[in-house]
């Protein structure tokens, strides 16, 4: 059963084969073509673990095994469009959200719970991604119901059309309140939406002029948020000619969004941002790599298609992507929870994740979470270690919801050694240098006189060791 671990994406490969792959990595045609398992890059648990870390929040044993027999094509099909009844699931959770909309703390908890339970984790992954992209902060909006409406908007568009999402964002009360763009008078055009629209949501700094912002802001006049409701007051709209990106007309806000979407910088910026999410955050891709995707994306702004291209690609399953991203606190914690098939208190979890720097519904600034290496220093790593301890210790605020011994038994791994091996496969697909693997497996050994209780404690400790390794922090 161990043969699937022998080939690793970026080690133990013959030097020559590796060089061939390196050269291919810079060829966009090869990079974005769909991955087909082959001798150098076989379909194995390592690739599957990688896929579920990026396109979901980790996987349980059954999912890993199912993917092994399904192959890449079918596994990715299911991640993109699950066979399960996702509508019914989301309706149920929308109901929970409605009754929790009195407080952000409950909404945070329900969202985490949804992420754990959902049959469509990619949708939640993308919703969370857009939450960082259109970062809106509850502490300022001070209206949980509007915040819920905002997250719902993101979810409904998360894998559909970016154009539709951006149009909806331009009329979203939570966004307008957060940006201080809730009053757009004819006599006093407000640049607080037009500027982030260009700087953060689409083109990025350096791709527009002050004049574009000023003119665009005139197009958004007439829109107000009054008593938490969006209102259009036509006499406050400036119906005169505006000039935005060299186009002239008596534009409305909708027109401006359309014009912004036509700028090549917009699709390029979004493709780059998704590249950081799905492929790699250590190296900035060159234009040759980004342009083919950006050009296709600009045609219809179909997020699902772009995501699909990236997830199926040779590049995605290559060493250029493998472990080239740092897990966010949510990904870190849920990776443990999903693998061990438990449902923990998400009220507590949301609080602990906020302490690690990812407070759902409250990204730090309009730029969202900086992510990457910003997630990590010795203090946040100690925090991650202590959160993992709390999740795994079987008592305290998370109670006994995650039990590695019980999980191993469920999957027929009754001996201590096989249970340890299972945990290693689950969390890291055993992709560790052999001396590291041996050294930690040594800590799960039957000693004379050890009983069932000792075994349970031993496996809890072992799981804690595995999830605090540097490798487990990587996605």
């Amino acid at each position: 059963m161990n043969e699937q671990f022998e080939k690793r994406p970026d080690q133990h490969q013959p030097q020559k084969a590796r060089r061939v792959i390196d050269e291919k990595l810079t060829d966009p045609d090869w990079a974005w073509a769909a991955y087909r398992p082959n001798a150098q890059q076989p379909w194995n648990l390592i690739q599957i673990g990688h896929l579920f870390r990026r396109a979901a929040f980790g996987a349980d044993w059954k999912q890993l095994q199912q993917a092994l027999s399904d192959g890449p094509q079918r596994t990715i099909d299911k991640l993109l469009k699950p066979q399960a009844d996702t509508t019914a699931f989301n309706d149920t959770y929308d109901g929970y959200d409605n009754s929790a909309a009195g407080s952000i703390k409950s909404l945070r908890a329900w969202w985490l719970r949804r992420i754990i339970q959902t049959p469509h984790p990619l949708l939640e992954k993308m919703t969370l991604f857009w939450h960082g992209h259109f970062a809106t902060k509850s502490d300022k909006v001070k209206n949980p119901r509007l915040m819920l409406q905002h997250i719902r908007l993101l979810r409904s568009h998360a894998l559909n059309s970016f154009s539709d999402m951006l149009q909806a964002i331009s009329l979203d009360p939570a966004v307008l309140i957060y940006l201080g763009a809730d009053a757009n008078r004819k006599a006093l055009p407000n640049e607080n939406f037009a500027r982030p629209l260009m700087e953060i949501f689409t083109m990025g700094p350096g791709n527009y002029k002050k004049k574009d912002v000023r003119e665009a802001s005139r197009a958004f006049t007439g829109w107000f948020v009054l008593r938490s409701r969006l209102r259009y007051i036509s006499r406050e709209h400036d119906g005169n000619i505006k000039e935005v990106f060299s186009e002239r007309g008596n534009f409305t806000g909708e027109d401006v969004v359309r014009i912004v979407l036509k700028q090549p910088a917009t699709s390029q910026m979004l493709v780059r941002k998704l590249y950081r999410l799905l492929i790699c955050e250590t190296e900035e891709p060159n234009a040759a790599m980004i342009n083919p995707l950006a050009e296709t994306f600009a045609k219809d702004y179909d997020i699902m298609k772009l995501t699909e291209t990236m997830l199926r690609s040779n590049l995605f399953f290559s060493s250029a992507a493998y472990r080239r991203r740092i897990k966010s606190p949510v990904e870190f914690a849920l990776g443990i929870v999903k693998a061990l098939e438990g449902v923990v208190s998400t009220t507590q979890l949301a609080q602990d994740l906020a302490g690690l720097g990812q407070n759902l519904y409250n990204p730090p600034t309009a730029n969202g979470w900086a992510g990457g290496q910003h997630w990590i220093d010795s203090a946040t790593l100690a925090g991650r270690s202590n959160l993992a301890l709390a999740l795994l210790q079987g008592s305290g605020p998370y109670a006994d919801k995650l039990n590695p011994r019980a999980l191993a038994n469920k999957h027929g791994r009754t001996t201590l050694k096989s249970a340890g091996q299972l945990l290693l496969d689950l969390f890291l697909q055993s992709d560790l240098p052999s001396d590291v693997r041996e050294s930690i497996l040594k800590t799960v050994q039957v000693t004379s006189g050890s009983g069932i209780d000792d075994e349970e404690a031993m496996l809890r400790r072992f799981a804690h060791t595995v999830v605090t390794l540097p490798e487990f922090q990587l996605a």
Binding site: N192, T365, D377, V436
Partner: protein, 315 residues
Amino acid sequence: MNTVVPYEDDEYARNRPTLRLSPNEIHKIDSRLGFHPRMGAFMRLYEQGHLSIIQGVGYPNIDRTHESGMRIWHTAAPDEPDCQTGWLGRTVDSIREINSVNAPAVFVGSIAKPFGLNAKNVIVPSVSSLENLTMREMPGYRKYQSQRKQAAELRRPNQNNPLMHFLQRCTLNAYKNSERIEAVMKKTADTTQYPQFELAGSLRMVAQLIRADIGIRIFFTELGGGGIGGFDNHANQLGNHCALLHHFSESVAAFIHDLKRDKLLNRVLLMTFSCRSISQSYGFGQRRPEVSHRLSQCVCNRAGPMAWLRQLEGA
């Protein structure tokens, strides 16, 4: 206005009919200013040359609403109503390098982290107990820490991944910091005398973290805050402030003496803010504009080169 009292000022007497303190009780600094009667400890620090006072710290054109006043104190950006970062948050963003392994700043306390620490990139941890910063083990399994550490330590052949290298360095540093904190906790378990106030407990933790020397450059703690037990009492403040100012000065004095004994004082600059408008609120319990008026003051504890503790009064 209650910390450093302009006891001879006619305006003071006129504007604070019931809140004014009698000159007889004041610890007099000079013929004009003095410390609150319950702040004898500050008077001693002042006499020892450990404390200096900067008055009139503030900003122009105060609209005196609580919301905007607090926002400005935390953002230090009076002209940017939509400023999204705190003044200390911006500081930590500018001092932290992307590959550094240590957290540059922490908030010490168990209340919500103040907005002043909101940063664009850096995560500022909240520390309510030193254990938050240590690599804890499951009960009864302390001896396994060395195994856990060893597994992180072993060489990774695949070092062409910069993230792997970074995470390994941070993980090992986290174990090292953890050991330093534990050593400090053991060493100073019962040897230091701090009063039983919450602020004293926070400052004691700060002193321990300074001693552990784990790279934290900015510590932030807060006394009071709003609500019952805080400074935000408007016209009801007299009795409450007596107790709080006493806690405050005794806690700071204990902290200074603790650092002094370990010859750490010259490495530390401690700054505290206290602000209050001159006139007392009209009527008791009535909501009234306050926050930093032209006479708002800022007290700096000066020790050697200069050390700051920051105490942002809930105003």
